[in-house]
Symmetry: C2
Subunit: 139 residues, 2 copies
């Protein structure tokens, strides 16, 4: 429990500094991250991932759209849906944020070795709710 607490805390603090320079918070990071990972994701699908309310998301997402980090377009297949995607500016922010986290994980992976990483992923997967594990069984 303590391991997870410290790991998650240290995992996020570097990003917080970058985000602060944009006037953003962690909520903006999460949106940029998951939109980057799931291009053309719908608003509802994003809400299900983040498990927050529409109102909470709209404040954060609205600003990201207004400031040109995220685009929305109507789904050609279902006009009610708005598909979200990152702009070049959004991708640039996303990779800047991810870079620090990736570096931290890469360093931990290198020093621990492949077998340890296997185990690490297996245990984390076990901690995650069954329903959410499907997300990781994609090609």
């Amino acid at each position: 429990m303590e391991l997870l607490f410290f790991a998650y805390r240290d995992f996020t603090t570097e990003c917080d500094a970058i985000l602060a320079s944009y006037g953003f918070g962690r909520a903006h990071h999460r949106v940029v991250y998951f939109v980057g990972r799931n291009p053309d994701i719908s608003v509802t699908a994003l809400l299900e991932i983040l498990r927050i309310t529409k109102q909470s998301l709209s404040r954060v997402l609205g600003r990201l759209v207004r400031e040109g980090f995220v685009t929305t377009r109507q789904d050609p297949a279902d006009g009610r849906r708005r598909l979200l995607a990152l702009t070049a500016k959004g991708r640039s922010l996303e990779s800047r944020l991810s870079a620090t986290q990736r570096a931290r994980i890469a360093k931990a992976y290198r020093s621990a070795g492949g077998v340890a990483v296997e185990g690490y992923r297996e245990v984390l997967m076990g901690i995650i709710d069954e329903a959410d594990r499907r997300r990781f069984h994609r090609p």
Copy 2:
């Protein structure tokens, strides 16, 4: 990065429900947890673990003391220090909260096996800031 996000989210959501029934939030949980783990910890030491400001802690800690979950007493060796400890009520809350998390981790450990757990701990340790790792080298 996604693994950590989902694991940490699912790891905390069960506790949030219990905490809500007391009108508490995650901040209260963290205080109860670390005071439980470190009986007779001083306020400053707790602040260093949590990495929050004195003002933030004081609101949370003050309420826990007023409602009888935590006691403060003057350090006999240094009268400036207040030593924090859980009351029986506090220990009961702590173990109620920890039980759900322990169960989740135990389940993940069991299904992953000992080798995986070794790797898991090694990688998480690598993600944690060097300075904080010392915390885990206690007897």
